[in-house]
């Protein structure tokens, strides 16, 4: 989140993608950085043992949210 917050301050719309395990950490980091509306998206855990096809499915699932996070 440090990076996406920095980019937002610079005027670059940004979004972080993390695994669902990361939700609390993402919220905590966002609070710590003081940008309440910084955008982040979660994809389903697990990541490490997901097959390539499964990873690609996660990408497809999150794509609409990525576009929305950057445009609205």
């Amino acid at each position: 989140m440090h990076d996406t917050v920095w980019f937002e301050i610079q005027g670059v719309p940004a979004v972080s993608i993390a695994s669902s395990e990361f939700r609390e950490a993402a919220e905590a980091q966002r609070d710590a950085l003081g940008m309440k509306d910084a955008r982040y998206l979660l994809v389903e855990h697990p990541i490490q043992d997901a097959t390539d096809d499964e990873m690609r499915a996660k990408a497809q699932a999150v794509l609409p949210a990525v576009i929305e996070a950057l445009t609205s």
């Binding site: 920095w6 301050i9 670059v12 972080s16 990361f22 990408a59 497809q60 794509l63 950057l70």
Partner: protein, 93 residues
């Protein structure tokens, strides 16, 4: 430790950090920043393919942080900022 300061303005608007303005459309170049955790590249490869397919005319640049353990180095941030109008960072696990 959060620091509390008092608002020096006339308080017509809350003083907080906000994300930058959204323009309703993606144009120009999107940066995809790999934070270098394993498997993130597979997700980003697919996102890149989908974005190019979904948004003709938009360019996608790929970048990679040296380590996920620290924020992006300054010079890489500077490069991305000068080359991209949007950023997606992945994949924190």
């Amino acid at each position: 430790m959060t620091l509390i300061i008092l608002d020096p303005t006339d308080e017509r608007v809350p003083v907080e950090r906000h994300i930058s303005r959204r323009n309703g459309a993606i144009t120009g170049t999107i940066g995809l920043l790999d934070i270098s955790k394993p498997r993130g590249n597979v997700l980003l490869d697919e996102l890149e393919r989908l974005l190019l397919e979904r948004l003709p005319g938009v360019k996608v640049n790929r970048y990679r942080k040296p380590t996920f353990a620290k924020p992006c180095p300054d010079d890489l941030r500077g490069t991305i900022k000068s080359e991209c109008s949007f950023l997606v960072e992945a994949l924190a696990d």
